[in-house]
Symmetry: C2
């Protein structure tokens, strides 16, 4: 799990609000949040003074004749994690939460964010800023209509609004006599000036062939073949998401946190390949790898990143049709292509192709999960020894598991910020410890670790929840019900092309049965050294249908506010299922290889089918991870693995009572007969 996309779906936001409520921070005597109703207002030290930058922004707005200016939390590529130089909303407001939109008028300034961030916003924003505890464009437009005069203009950076978001603003403002004005020069950037962190400039490198499923030439040919087969005969595909260009050319860099991407666009036409990026970042080897010195249909021409809008506009003058995935295209590109020259799908052909891993990609992703299991098992073994000493805290723990992963072959850092949460902290959504604010791990509390790694061969994401002491009956029950949910969904057999949304309730049924539930989604796609949350695969309503070769996480949980949190997350491959009667059916093959915590399993809640599944899974873990541990001389870990994957035995009271009856009656007869 982690942040991105989990809030896309309205019911999810609702469930989050119900299940997680407002995170209750450690009590700092009520003095940690601002109070704008006193005179002078009370401002904690965590607040950022924004008066000067707001004044400067309003000057820029005046120059452009704007009544209001929208500052979203996005970058130009819909990235889940955005670079520091793109954190415009954080810089102008002081509020650093990952979700929230700011709007500035000539008199007021306001931020809209969801319940996860209300306290943080009150700690970080000065009294220049109103806090609106709502999300979506509707409340923003409702506010705008009362704050700006009729005839007023609302400015925005078209590279920071997706097509959908722009349409939503546009629709809401229609007929209101207020106008949306697209301004390609970002006004916050103008004010930010030289203080703005620089755009990354590290080398962009090609992945070794051993780590790629196909060559870039094969991928380009594949996309061109899809263009030819398409009913509307597009002449070009435009790729805006960084992962699309990274995947297509097997190129990587580290421009943004956790994702190995570089700022880029690709315009792949029927006769040319145009890659928009900073040319100085390519070595001569990489340029040669890309055939960038020629101009034929299989030569990659590198054009400057900043030229993309003008180049697309120029290309669109011809007799062309440009195929885009609307989910990842920003309005700044969309607005320069005439509608009749657009071929739109929700996701580009690259996004759709990338979702299904070929056999080599599958093998690579699986291999990365074996090594990842080694790192996690090393950490769990270490915790078992060190937690009782009272020397481990959430932050040092997170650092250690990141370190263990870093020691694995092909490691390229964590795939998201490690969630290392003890006791009640595990019930908070998206909690991550800091060096300053963390909790000690203890044998008296449950501990949740949600973490993952980037490796050249694959991206991983796994959650395990453990207890080293004596868990309560309720903790064991909740854990076991979460486990049953994980098993029930993992072993489900379903028709090909079923949408994840239709089956995700199987991960909840065992919890529902007892009146329990969890307030987040059930899983997301994952990439080969790409995004840890790789769309469009997953279990939400806007995910695409399941197909053989996709990878998804399966991660039910349960959260008891103020007490503990449980999540059991595995990554699984969608495979063909063998059914009694012939048909096109699918099921999952779990590729995360870390045993669950036996200390938390209440075997009496498991059916024989659950036990059989679990023991088979344990056998697989032994087969996959055991030899790797032995090869690496990690003998303590090997022993631990053997112990933790011992087959679980069913509790079968009926059979047992028959057996004892048999013994007793036999004895009785024997006694009687002697």
């Amino acid at each position: 799990m982690a942040r991105a996309h989990w809030g896309c779906c309205p019911w999810l936001v609702l469930l989050c609000a119900c299940a997680w409520g407002h995170p209750k921070p450690a009590d700092l005597g009520g003095q940690d949040v601002r109070n704008c109703s006193t005179n002078p207002p009370y401002l904690p030290v965590t607040v950022v003074n924004t008066t000067v930058s707001l004044t400067a922004l309003r000057q820029q707005m005046q120059t452009q004749n704007l009544s209001a200016y929208i500052i979203p939390d996005t970058d130009a590529h819909m990235n889940e994690y955005i670079g520091q130089h793109d954190e415009r909303r954080a810089w102008i407001t002081g509020f650093t939460g990952s979700a929230g939109t700011a709007v500035v008028t000539m008199k007021k300034a306001a931020v809209w964010t969801d319940s996860r961030y209300w306290t943080q916003a009150e700690r970080q924003m000065d009294c220049n800023w109103e806090l609106h505890k709502e999300v979506g464009t509707t409340p923003i437009v409702t506010w705008l209509l009362t704050e700006i005069p009729a005839g007023g203009c609302v400015g925005f950076d078209p590279f920071l609004l997706s097509i959908d978001t722009w349409e939503s603003y546009n629709l809401a403002l229609q007929g209101s006599n207020r106008q949306l004005v697209s301004i390609t020069t970002n006004l916050v950037d103008l004010v930010w000036g030289s203080e703005r962190p620089p755009v990354p400039n590290q080398p962009i490198y090609a992945l070794q062939e051993a780590f790629t499923g196909s060559t870039w030439q094969e991928k380009v040919s594949g996309v061109r073949s899809q263009m030819q087969k398409h009913q509307k005969a597009p002449t070009a595909v435009l790729l805006s998401a960084l992962e699309e260009t990274a995947w297509l050319f097997n190129l990587r860099a580290s421009d943004i946190p956790y994702n190995p991407f570089f700022y880029s666009y690709t315009l792949l036409t029927d006769s040319s390949i145009r890659l928009f990026a900073n040319k100085s970042r390519f070595s001569s080897e990489t340029l040669s790898y890309l055939n960038s010195s020629c101009t034929g249909p299989m030569c990659v021409q590198i054009e400057d990143y900043s030229q993309v809008r003008d180049s697309i506009q120029a290309y669109a003058l011809g007799d062309v049709r440009i195929w885009i995935g609307t989910s990842y295209t920003m309005y700044g590109i969309y607005e320069v292509i005439p509608k009749e020259k657009l071929v739109t799908d929700t996701y580009s052909p690259v996004m759709m192709t990338k979702a299904v891993k070929n056999s080599k990609e599958q093998a690579l992703l699986k291999a990365s999960h074996v090594r990842d299991a080694v790192a996690v098992i090393r950490y769990l073994v270490w915790l078992e020894k060190n937690v009782p000493k009272g020397t481990v805290d959430e932050f040092s723990g997170a650092e250690l598991v990141d370190k263990f992963r870093g020691e694995e072959q092909f490691s390229s850092g964590p795939s998201f910020e490690t969630i290392s949460a003890s006791g009640l902290n595990a019930a908070l959504a998206h909690y991550s410890p800091t060096k300053e604010l963390n909790r000690k791990l203890s044998s008296d509390e449950m501990y949740l670790l949600d973490s993952g790694g980037q490796y050249w061969d694959g991206t991983t994401d796994i959650t395990r929840t453990v207890h080293w002491g004596t868990p309560s009956a309720f903790q064991k029950e909740a854990y076991t019900r979460v486990l049953i949910g994980n098993i029930d969904l993992s072993r489900l057999i379903f028709p090909a092309a079923t949408s994840g949304r239709m089956v995700e309730a199987f991960a909840r049924r065992a919890l529902w049965d007892a009146g329990l539930n969890y307030g987040h989604g059930t899983g997301h796609g994952i990439g080969n050294f790409l995004c840890v949350h790789e769309w469009p695969v997953g279990f939400q309503s806007n995910n695409i249908a399941m197909a053989k070769g996709m990878f998804t996480s399966i991660e039910p949980g349960y959260y008891k506010d103020g007490e503990f949190g449980i999540r059991l997350e595995d990554v699984a491959l969608v495979v063909e299922a063998k059914t009694k009667y012939p048909g096109s059916y699918l099921t999952f093959e779990v590729v995360s290889f870390v045993p669950y915590d036996r200390n938390l399993i209440d075997v009496s809640l498991l059916s024989p089918e659950h036990l059989q599944y679990l023991n088979r899974y344990y056998q697989t873990i032994r087969e996959k991870v055991g030899p790797e541990l032995q090869r690496r001389q990690l003998l303590e870990e090997f022993k631990w693995l053997q112990q933790h994957t011992e087959p679980l035995a069913a509790r079968a009271p009926d059979t047992a009572s028959w057996a004892s009856m048999l013994v007793i009656s036999t004895l009785a007869i024997l006694i009687w007969s002697v």
Copy 2:
């Protein structure tokens, strides 16, 4: 089950196409369908000659300067079953299938319909008509663009296109230089002339208070209260669906088949109640019941049905906001209301309120299901005796069950056309036998009966599948898996406000497990002497979330093309679930009371939980239906009920083997010891 709404959802259409394929009619030597490729064309006797009416229609089109005219299969109220005088598409084409759109240009005429009707269309249409084996507006517009010249006008009756359908045509034609033209006088009606069947004119009557959940005054006050609470403060609610007006005023009639409705609209404003209907159809008692002689806010003013469009247009001139449910409002009403005066929701407040039955309505619906069970049980008992004689066919069977229902108290006819299908016919979607074309019932085949009744207190819908001889192992397995699906969904506990779509896979899991599935939806809402398929409750993606007090059918099935069909359909009430831990959870209470066929249940496939559920359900049937059978002196049926609701015993091989081991070892010891 039956026809309506099952095709709303694209995946359903797709599944239908896969699972049901093309119905294979009885072979009539290949001479029963037209052949337009010979000269002269071959036309079977079932074909209707449409040359004269088409010529007349084209004259009307010329008068209106139209290049094309669309003839949908709808009436002005989105009714599932439409009256004969509304069967314009059937009359002009000859093709009487319930789904299909016709379009006529000056040179060509064409029909678009789905696979269920392709053969029927080829039997009924002459060679004036092209048959297009596609559905939806896109293929129609694609065809139109090639058939009519640029600048051409496409006429349509705005009362026969829903807002959505109109938008879909409009969007597809945008920028094509072809224009949609709304013409309120229906051109087919002009041609049809005096041959057109008359509009029904029977009395409109008020339901007795014993059969209503609330008085119309209470319902009106309830809707007005929702208007007041609404954020956009509508001044009026406009009701276009016939069931809305029927429900609101507790009025009924029989204008259309199977649904006890009358042609009407209601404009309920904050200060008036305007009912658009044929005034001559109300008796003086009914007029007095409606307070129709006064003009206050609780007086129903009856205005002529034909005046609705003008009246709405006039009302919309004021400072008003009209609240509509877009799903049931036709473009003919929508186009006369200025957009800024519209308050739109998918469903009107009446539709939403009606979906949740109050306690009296729940009791009424349950009571009707007890009597309905008596009728079905009488039929099943009769079949058991008569099928072996070889004297029963599908059609006479259907007539008999309708007759038995007609003998029940408060009966008002069947709630849809009885599906009485033997052997391979049960695998055909929407099969109904006719006097001419039907199959004999036999002890060697399975028989599927899907039928329901209209009663003053409630509407029923139940499907049972039976076999009087020796079913094959596969038939028993398939039947039992369908039964498990029914049970698994019926006993599911799920959070309040869960959408049916999220849980319907529980009705499929047991089938999926073996590589089996069914190609239709899993259930639909049902009314109190209203629609048998009452929207918006159900398990499809466009249904609303489940809430306490809703009724829905639960009806998994399995269809083996060319061999047999199984469906087990019950109606269930959504009730609060008691969970171990407190929370707002729901489950289903089945209110259909007819036992399943023991002859088709393979007990070894059932878990102890399934058996427990089944035996509890059988106990409920005994308690509900037993006394009614006894009271009515239906002693043979009572005996049958007792036999068919005997508790089912588990097959417990392990326990049994332990028991035999015990006996054997005891004997061995005894023998040895003597």
